[in-house]
C-alpha cells in the first residue's frame, strides 16, 4: 500500500489541502477561498467557522482526487497565515467575533500608546519583534478591552485563544470533545507573547499586554503536535505545524546556518536560518524561530518587503500600463536599463530594514527621456534592491555572507527580475522544482515526525534545482546603482519628515 503525507495550508485568502508522495511530488490539490471582511477602514477580519468548514470540504476532496484512503495518509502537517488569530468559547466552540487578520491596522493608536509604556525595550529583547499592529498581541489586547464582558470571561477560563494552526488542530482533534489546545513554536513566536530563549509564554510580556495566560495554548516543537483527527476524516495523525514563511524555509531545505530563502508574492519574505544562535538584529531585522525539530530550535532572522508583486499589480491596475502582471517583463525589455529612474514603493511605510511607517513612495530621476519601459524596469528593480538591503542586513547580523538565495512564489516566473536579484546580490539565485514550498515544508515536518522520511538529509535529496540565475552585472555598475537606490530611499525619509499630517 503506497503511503502519502498531507499538508493543510491555511493562507490569507484561501485554504488548501495538498497530498505529496515520498519523492515530494504533488499528488492532489484541493482549495477553497474564504471571505475577507472590511467592517471599517483599516480593519481586516475573517470568519474562522467558514475557514473550518472549508477544511471540512477540501480534505475529503484531496483524498478523492488522489484516489487514496485516510489509512494511506501517514501524517498531516498544518501551515498557516501568521499572526491572524481567533478567540472562541471553550464550552461551545463558537468564535467570539471574527478572526483579526495580520493586515488589520485598528491598533495603530494602541500601539503608539503601548510604545510609550515603560519596559518596551525589554519587550523587544524577549520576543525579538518590534511593537507593530500586525503581530497578535496588540489586537488581542484590543479585543479584551473592547468586547463587552470578554476580559472577565477570559479570566474565568471560558475563552481560548489560537492562531489559525491552533484553531484547526483544536477542531480537528475533537473541538469541545477534548480538542487539543496547542500551537507550535514558530506560530507562538509571532504573537509577541513568547520568550525566544525559553520558548514559553513570558509572564512579563503577558503582563505588558494585559493577557491572561489561561486562554493561551500549550507551545510545542514544530514536529511534536501529536494529535489524531476525530472529525472531517478521522484517524489521521497530525504531527507538525509551522507558520507559512517558516514552512517555506523548511520546504526549501534551508537547514544550514546562513542559508536564506525568499518568497516573492504580493510582498517578499526573506528568512535566514541562524542555527542555534539567537541573533538579536542590529540592522532592523526580526528574530524568530525558523523551526524546531525535537529539542533544539533553529533560530532565524526575518526581513519582510511590504511591496513586491503588489507594485506590479499597482502598475497594472492603477496606471493601466500593462494588461497582465507578467507583461511587466515584456515592457521592461523594451529598454536596456532604467534610464536613471527609480521607484521606492513605500506605499504604507518601509519595512525591513528601515521600519519607517511614515515613509511614502516616490518616483525619482524623471526626465523627458523616461518612457513606460524605464518605469517597468524601475518597478522590477525595486524588488531587487529591497532584497539587497535585507540580505545585506542579514549578512551583517550573522557576520558571514550567504552563498546563494533560494527563491519561490509567483514572481519567480519573472526571468528578468530573478536575473536582476542575482546581479544585485552578486550570488546565484536558485528556484526549486516544487513551487509549493509552503505546503511542502509542512508535509516535510509532518513526514519527518512520523518517520516517513528518515532525516533532514533525506529531505534534502528531494530538493531539485529547476533554474539557476548567475550574477553577470559589472561590479562598478552594481555599486553605482545601489548608491542611487539608497539616495532614493533617503528621499522618502525626507518626504515623511516634511509632511507631518500623513
Amino acid at each position: 500500500m503506497q503511503r502519502f503525507v498531507m499538508a493543510i495550508d491555511q493562507g490569507t485568502t484561501s485554504t488548501r489541502c495538498i497530498v505529496f508522495d515520498q519523492n515530494a511530488r504533488l499528488v492532489a490539490v484541493a482549495q477553497r477561498e474564504h471571505r475577507q471582511y472590511h467592517p471599517r477602514p483599516g480593519w481586516v477580519e475573517q470568519d474562522a467557522v467558514e475557514i473550518w468548514r472549508n477544511v471540512d470540504r477540501i480534505v475529503p476532496q484531496a483524498l478523492r482526487q488522489a484516489g487514496i484512503t485516510a489509512e494511506q495518509v501517514v501524517a498531516m502537517g498544518i501551515t498557516n497565515q501568521r499572526e491572524t488569530f481567533v478567540l472562541w468559547d471553550r464550552h461551545t466552540g463558537v468564535p467570539i467575533g471574527r478572526a483579526i487578520v495580520w493586515e488589520d491596522i485598528r491598533t495603530e493608536d494602541l500601539v503608539a500608546e503601548l510604545g510609550k509604556k515603560p519596559g518596551i525595550e525589554e519587550v523587544r529583547d524577549r520576543c525579538g519583534l518590534p511593537l507593530a499592529t500586525y503581530f497578535s498581541a496588540p489586537s488581542l489586547r484590543w479585543m479584551l478591552d473592547n468586547v463587552a464582558g470578554l476580559r472577565a470571561k477570559a479570566e474565568r477560563g471560558d475563552v481560548l485563544f489560537g492562531t489559525m494552526d491552533t484553531w484547526l488542530i483544536w477542531n480537528l482533534t475533537g473541538g469541545v470533545n477534548g480538542g487539543l489546545h496547542v500551537t507550535d513554536v514558530t506560530n507562538a513566536s509571532r504573537t509577541m507573547l513568547m520568550n525566544l530563549s525559553t520558548r514559553q509564554w513570558d509572564p512579563m510580556l503577558l503582563e505588558f499586554f494585559g493577557v491572561p495566560s489561561v486562554i493561551l495554548p500549550e507551545i510545542r516543537p514544530s514536529t511534536e503536535i501529536s494529535g489524531v483527527t476525530t472529525r472531517v476524516v478521522p484517524g489521521i495523525s497530525i504531527t507538525a505545524a509551522l507558520g507559512d514563511q517558516h514552512a517555506a524555509l523548511f520546504g526549501q531545505t534551508c537547514f544550514e546556518k546562513g542559508s536564506i530563502k525568499g518568497t516573492y508574492g504580493t510582498g517578499g519574505f526573506l528568512l535566514m536560518n541562524t542555527g542555534d544562535e539567537l541573533v538579536r538584529s542590529k540592522h532592523g531585522l526580526l528574530t524568530t524561530i525558523g523551526y524546531q525539530i525535537g529539542g533544539e530550535p533553529a533560530y532565524a532572522l526575518e526581513g519582510s518587503i511590504a511591496v513586491a508583486g503588489s507594485l506590479v499589480q499597482w502598475f497594472r491596475d492603477n496606471l493601466g500600463l500593462i494588461h497582465s502582471a507578467p507583461e511587466i517583463e515584456t515592457l521592461a525589455r523594451t529598454v536596456k536599463d532604467n534610464g536613471g529612474c527609480y521607484i521606492v514603493p513605500a506605499f504604507s511605510g518601509l519595512f525591513a530594514p528601515h521600519w519607517l511607517s511614515q515613509a511614502r513612495g516616490l518616483v525619482v530621476g524623471l526626465t523627458s527621456y523616461i518612457n513606460k519601459g524605464h518605469l517597468a524596469r524601475a518597478v522590477l528593480e525595486a524588488t531587487g534592491w529591497q532584497t539587497r538591503e535585507v540580505v545585506d542586513a542579514m549578512n551583517a547580523d550573522l557576520g558571514a555572507p550567504t552563498p546563494v538565495l533560494k527563491v519561490d512564489g509567483g514572481m519567480t516566473a519573472d526571468h528578468l527580475l530573478m536575473q536582476f536579484i542575482a546581479d544585485v546580490l552578486d550570488i546565484p539565485v536558485q528556484r526549486p522544482l516544487v513551487a509549493e514550498t509552503v505546503s511542502l515544508g509542512a508535509a516535510y515536518a509532518a513526514g519527518l515526525a512520523a518517520g516517513y522520511w528518515p532525516d533532514l538529509e533525506g529531505l534534502r535529496r528531494n530538493w531539485h534545482l529547476a533554474a539557476r540565475w548567475n550574477p553577470v552585472m559589472d561590479a562598478q555598475h552594481r555599486e553605482n546603482e545601489y548608491a542611487n537606490w539608497k539616495r532614493a530611499v533617503e528621499l522618502t525619509f525626507a518626504w515623511a519628515r516634511s509632511s507631518p499630517s500623513t
Binding site: 511530488r25 507578467p326 511587466i328 515584456t330 509567483g410 516544487v434
Partner: protein, 241 residues
C-alpha cells in the same frame, strides 16, 4: 454578425440578432456560442445580451505574451520535468527560429545553464517542428530557405520535412533523434490559445537512448507525458483568459 455588433449600441439580444440577420434562432445561437468560445463575442451576465469581445482588439497580434505564457505554464513545466526526469523547454516562434521562453533543468542536480532567450533551429528540433506544422506561413518560408545540416541526421530536403510535418499534425506531437545534436533527442507538443491557434510548444530533451526505444522511436510514456503537459497548459490558457 460581428458587423451588427460593431454597429450602434453594440448590445443585442439573441432574438434581435437572429431577426436582423434573417437567421433561425438556433443557427444564430450556434454561431454566437462559437464566437464566444474564441472571445470575439461576450455575453453580459445580467442582461444576457451580446457584445464584441476583447479578443477582437488583438486580432492583428493574436499571439500570447511570452512572459505571460511562462507565468501560466510554470507549474505544468515543473511537473513534466519531475515526471519525465528530463529538461523542459517552452518555445515560441521568433524571427525564423524557436525562441526559448521557459526552461526547467533536468532534475538530477547536475550543472546546467539556464537557456531562456536562446534561439533554436525550427527544422531540427521537436519544438520547431511543432511550430512549423501548425503555421502554414512559417512552413512555406522554411521551404523557400535552405535547411542547414547540423548533424548527419538533420532533415535537409524540403519534401522530407513536409512529410514529417504532416505526420506531426496527424499524431499531435513531434519527435527528433540526433537531428540537432549527436546523442540528443527531443519530444514536443503544441500549446494552443482558445480557438485552437498554436502559439507555442512544450517539450523535453535529453540523451537519445533515454528518450527513444531500441528502434529509435520516442518512448510512448514520455510522449504521453509531453502531450498531457501541453494539454494542461492549453487548458490553463482557456481558464484564465
Amino acid at each position: 454578425m460581428l458587423r451588427l455588433l460593431a454597429r450602434g449600441s453594440g448590445h443585442h439580444g439573441l432574438t434581435e440578432i437572429a431577426d436582423s440577420l434573417g437567421l433561425a434562432r438556433g443557427t444564430a445561437h450556434g454561431i454566437l456560442r462559437t464566437l464566444q468560445r474564441v472571445e470575439f463575442v461576450e455575453q453580459d451576465q445580467t442582461t444576457g445580451r451580446y457584445r464584441l469581445g476583447a479578443a477582437l482588439l488583438h486580432l492583428g497580434t493574436s499571439y500570447l505574451d511570452a512572459n505571460e505564457l511562462r507565468s501560466r505554464s510554470i507549474n505544468w513545466a515543473d511537473t513534466l520535468a519531475a515526471r519525465s526526469g528530463q529538461e523542459v523547454r517552452i518555445g515560441m516562434h521568433h524571427d525564423g527560429a524557436v525562441l526559448v521562453v521557459h526552461h526547467v533543468f533536468r532534475p538530477d542536480d547536475s550543472v546546467q545553464t539556464l537557456g531562456i532567450g536562446a534561439m533554436l533551429p525550427l527544422h531540427a528540433t521537436a519544438l520547431g517542428k511543432v511550430l512549423l506544422a501548425y503555421d502554414p506561413d512559417l512552413s512555406a518560408a522554411a521551404r523557400r530557405r535552405e535547411l542547414t545540416s547540423l548533424t548527419r541526421r538533420t532533415i535537409t530536403r524540403t519534401q522530407m520535412l513536409e512529410r514529417v510535418l504532416t505526420e506531426v499534425r496527424g499524431q499531435g506531437w513531434a519527435g527528433e533523434a540526433e537531428e540537432y545534436m549527436p546523442g540528443e533527442a527531443s519530444i514536443a507538443a503544441p500549446i494552443r490559445i482558445p480557438g485552437g491557434l498554436v502559439i507555442g510548444a512544450i517539450g523535453i530533451s535529453g540523451a537519445a537512448d533515454r528518450l527513444c526505444d531500441s528502434a529509435g522511436r520516442p518512448r510512448a510514456t514520455l510522449v504521453r507525458q509531453v502531450v498531457q503537459a501541453a494539454e494542461s497548459v492549453t487548458t490553463s490558457l482557456v481558464d484564465e483568459n
